[in-house]
Symmetry: C2
Subunit: 193 residues, 2 copies
């Protein structure tokens, strides 16, 4: 694990609570690092996920297939945790996870998670914090979504995740903000005038 990756993890973990070097090592030891090539499918619809992961480098999209069309509901990038619902509830996934670029991520599975938690009880409360924070983030995102128009969502996206606009094709951004590529073109035109 190189220094950049280490920094991303530590930065992430420190958001939740002061973290000891010891706990840091425990977490690193119990997760496996993997590199995925561009366009790789991490989770299929109907499949039960056995892994959650943390992105060190790269970008992953989450999408539903509706009438043969991809409907993107999330882009995950560096420093984000991805815990598929299917990983948590053991039910077949309703959505896909697919890399947009070559992606390096730390993978964890329930067995090693349980093992680590039984060895290090402080890990459990730490995971609790991460989980609680996730709820706050998701509900905030939901509220932001429903309280804005597609045009406003595009403006917000430019402000809050300008990197995404650069690295993701526009027609996928369109899907993410809930409109068709043609409409996003028009919105962009409206905005430049």
């Amino acid at each position: 694990m190189d220094n950049l990756h280490r920094k991303i993890i530590i930065e992430f973990l420190s958001k939740y609570a002061p973290i000891s070097k010891e706990l840091e090592e425990i977490i690193l030891e119990h997760s496996g690092i993997k590199t995925l090539s561009k366009g790789e499918v991490i989770l299929q619809e109907g499949q039960v996920s056995k892994e959650c992961f943390f992105i060190l480098k790269g970008c992953v999209k989450k999408f539903h297939l509706i009438d043969g069309q991809e409907k993107i509901t999330a882009f995950y990038t560096e420093g984000q945790v991805v815990t598929p619902n299917s990983y948590t509830d053991g039910k077949p996934s309703k959505y896909f996870l697919k890399t947009m670029e070559e992606t390096i991520a730390l993978f964890g599975n329930p067995d090693s998670e349980k093992e680590a938690m039984s060895l290090y009880p402080e890990l459990a409360s730490f995971i609790g914090l991460v989980t609680e924070k996730l709820i706050v983030d998701i509900t905030d995102e939901f509220d932001t979504w429903v309280n804005h128009t597609p045009e406003e969502r595009y403006i917000l996206l430019n402000q809050e995740r300008p990197d995404l606009i650069q690295r993701v094709p526009q027609y996928q951004i369109a899907s993410y903000i809930g409109i068709k590529p043609e409409s996003l073109s028009r919105i962009r035109k409206r905005l430049t005038n």
Copy 2:
């Protein structure tokens, strides 16, 4: 606490894991039951929440005030937990919580929660399950929302929470599904034809 309320709680708790009579008592002892009258504001925008609650009877709406307009993002009814983001992250709330009817709820606060958890470690892992399930529910709701039109959302709401249509005024249902009351009228007309 009467039998109906007891039943609602036990039904709720059993969704997550088999629950012992003992743990049941612990939870009941550490939460205070309160009755709120119709129209009571539980949480104000800008306020830091010190309580989460579980609804035994009644209905609570969550809404943002945008340009003086209520934008409803959730209705909570019997058997649902409400954990304000502000309760979790300690930051001022971005939204309001207000009762739609007389509402009876079990309230918990961080102090009694921590006390109970230190006395009964098994409670912590139980709360972990509840929290994880919340994430699954919220992301499912989010995905359902973004993948449907207002008309489809209205049809879904009728199927999945027919009680809400009965007990909540239509213009508030309209706000909840993201449209104006006039548009909901038109949708209803379209659907009857």
